[in-house]
């Protein structure tokens, strides 16, 4: 990133900015980084973000997550007074355990569905030659620098937020955490549900070969069961707390998203949100959606954003 300063005419004024400020898009015009302050957005979303498959998967996970928490938490906190009331909501512990299993299998189905969607979509893009790993959730080094620049912006040391791709650092970290969490919860949950199957992984013959003392000392199945008990419960409580105290607030309650971000229902993102946090994805949107190009071209003209005569086109960084 170069730090050299250049002069631009923006909104009729000549201003000095570092050369990251303006992005020139052919056929649209010079887009300033803070254009999101001037655009008009529909609260229910303007630009496509998630396919219908992702929305369905999210809803499935969303519903099963709540059911799993409701039926699982009372078991973990069985000695607390509210556990009994919560379990009664699900028709008693014996029914609640069945509901927990059904919900767990539904969630696993949703996860499998997600994997199929991701693998299918990726291979289709690969075949068409459209695949670009920068548009995916795969973490990159850029995410780290984005994070630091964002921190600078929040502290007031940097003028603008970094230009980020479809998935920013927060979302990538959250997705990785979910991958790990789901794996742990599914593995530990299965170990709790099928202790006999897990024990079969250690065949009887091993017990017979080893001297009794060692088997008692090592006690693998006992160890694994204790581990599964610990991991399933603690991981689930962590997931619940993160979802309840961060994810929901971060997605629906922060300024500019309140009272509701519609993306989880219709898969759409608002224009100002896309420009603010996913600027590079917006540039791709400009390429893919002619209406959006038209809108942005008109807006830039209306607001008077144009390139000063003093700069040549070569001076302006081209992203696309």
């Amino acid at each position: 990133m170069s730090t050299s300063s250049k002069t631009f005419v923006v909104a009729g004024k000549e201003i000095v900015e570092d050369d990251d400020y303006i992005t020139l898009v052919d056929g649209v015009g010079p887009i300033p980084r803070d254009i999101y302050k001037y655009v008009k957005s529909d609260p229910t979303g303007d630009l496509p973000r998630y396919s219908v498959h992702i929305v369905i998967q999210h809803l499935l996970i969303f519903v099963t997550f709540i059911v799993l928490s409701g039926t699982g938490l009372p078991l973990y906190f069985s000695d607390l007074s509210w556990a009994q009331y919560l379990i009664t909501l699900f028709g008693g512990i014996d029914l609640a355990r069945e509901i927990h299993k059904v919900a767990a299998f539904t969630m696993m189905f949703a996860s499998a569905y997600h994997i199929v969607t991701i693998v299918g979509g990726t291979s289709r893009k690969l075949l068409k030659g459209e695949f670009d790993y920068r548009r995916t959730i795969i973490p990159r080094l850029k995410d780290l620098s984005d994070f630091f620049q964002d921190i600078k912006y929040f502290m007031g040391f940097a003028p603008y937020r970094p230009k980020m791709e479809k998935f920013m650092y927060k979302q990538k970290a959250h997705y990785l955490a979910i991958l790990w969490g789901s794996f742990v919860l599914m593995a530990a949950g299965s170990a709790l549900l099928f202790p006999d199957v897990v024990a079969r992984l250690f065949p009887d013959t091993v017990t017979k070969i080893l001297p009794t003392g060692i088997v008692d000392e090592v006690a693998f199945p006992s160890f694994f069961q204790s581990l599964a008990r610990l991991m399933h419960a603690d991981e689930a409580v962590m997931a619940l707390i993160v979802i309840a105290f961060w994810h929901w607030l971060n997605v629906h309650l922060v300024p500019g998203r309140f009272p509701l971000q519609w993306a989880f229902l219709n898969g759409k993102i608002t224009r100002e949100h896309q420009l603010e946090e996913h600027f590079l994805e917006y540039l791709r949107n400009l390429q893919e959606i002619p209406e959006e190009r038209e809108y942005m071209r008109k807006l830039l003209k209306e607001k008077g954003f144009e390139i000063s005569q003093k700069v040549t086109v070569e001076d302006i960084p081209r992203i696309l």
């Binding site: 302050k37 024990a199 603690d234 962590m238």
Partner: protein, 358 residues
């Protein structure tokens, strides 16, 4: 005409009342010797030498609904030989032979067999026991309270349909009772709910002072506590009827044969564990039975589990604090740059940026 109608109505009402009353009449209890002549009175009793009040009332209705409804009083209270009888000093002996012949059997009924099994078990009083142990060990009535002549809930059994064919040959009264009795016993291992079983056993086994006096093992001391930590214990605490309680593992279908785990007779003896766990868990092997049913409260002694636990806790606090912190920080920064809370048609960036005065 009118008077006839009135009489008809009166008869109808009277008949209805009579029918309702006769339905509610208690079944006749086995009181051939008419002990209830005195014991039916609600305040029959005495004040003993210490000034303690005793009530000897027997509620006929409750008694006729109890398990012992067919047993005449003196079959258990054998020491009563004359009327009016002397003050009672003896306890009832459940091993008595009563004058009831069970269906399909020639010998008179007695609890002797189960008492023999019980006396052999860990709870039976042995000659080598200390005085404290002898005193602490529960006898029949300690667990089988027979409180208010504990009513047997037989209405839950849908026997009418199954029984219809039996009635082709058998007398209704006898075969119905026998059938209900057997199906009732078959339905569940115990008549008590798992919660009641855990509560009953915990009454003594949770009493640490008593257990220490009886010199039980380290594991036995914490048995109730450690059980309550497991999924079995938690599910039972929340009202499960499917999960294992104490006797599910510690006794066979005889219920009374509870032994210490180093006794080869015991269901939890290391060679019997496979069979015992198999009652619920379809696949068991020698690894499976090593899974802790009473996991030590000090299972955190295992360094790997301990590290995992600490790691997960740190991850929890770290994740929540850093994410919420980032969210607040982000909101602070964006608010300063002019974003407003409410998302409307148009833009949320309605405010003026206070960050870079130009």
């Amino acid at each position: 005409m009118r008077s006839i109608k009135t009489i008809q109505a009166a008869c109808f009402c009277f008949g209805l009342v009579f029918m309702v009353l006769s339905v509610g009449l208690p079944a006749e209890a086995a009181d051939k010797e008419n002990c209830l002549m005195c014991h039916r009175y609600r305040f029959v009793g005495r004040i003993d030498e210490n000034g303690k009040r005793h009530n000897y009332h027997v509620d006929e209705k409750s008694y006729s609904g109890s398990v012992h409804r067919n047993v005449p009083c003196r079959d258990c209270h054998t020491y009563i030989t004359k009327i009016p009888h002397d003050p009672v000093t003896e306890e009832v002996n459940c091993a008595n032979i009563c004058h009831i012949t069970p269906p399909f059997s020639q010998e008179k009924f007695s609890h002797q067999k189960i008492i023999d099994i019980y006396n052999k078990s860990a709870h039976g009083i042995k000659p080598e026991d200390s005085d404290e142990a002898k005193k602490a060990k529960p006898y029949c009535k300690y667990c089988h309270l027979n409180e208010k002549y504990t009513r047997v809930s037989e209405e839950l059994i849908a026997y009418e349909e199954t029984l219809r064919r039996c009635l082709n040959c058998h007398q209704e009264k006898g075969v119905t009772q026998a059938y209900i009795h057997m199906t009732h016993r078959l339905r569940k291992k115990t008549t008590r709910s798992p919660q009641e079983i855990v509560q009953l056993c915990a009454k003594c086994h949770q009493d640490l002072e008593l257990m220490k006096k009886l010199k039980v093992s380290e594991k036995g001391l914490t048995a109730v506590e450690t059980y309550n930590r497991t999924l079995h214990g938690k599910a039972v605490a929340l009202g499960s009827h499917e999960t294992a309680d104490c006797v599910s593992c510690h006794a066979s279908s005889v219920i009374h044969d509870i032994y210490k785990k180093d006794n080869p007779e015991s269901t939890v003896y290391k060679d019997n564990l496979n069979k015992t766990c198999h009652h619920c868990h379809s696949e068991t092997n020698n690894w499976f039975v090593k899974i802790g049913v009473h996991p030590s409260t000090k299972h955190d002694e295992n360094p790997v589990i301990q590290l995992m636990s600490i790691g997960l806790r740190l991850a929890l606090y770290g994740a929540v604090l850093s994410l919420v912190g980032l969210m607040l920080f982000e909101t602070y920064g964006r608010r300063k740059d002019g974003i407003k809370f409410l998302l409307r048609h148009g833009t949320s960036w309605r405010g003026k940026s206070k960050r870079r005065p130009k």
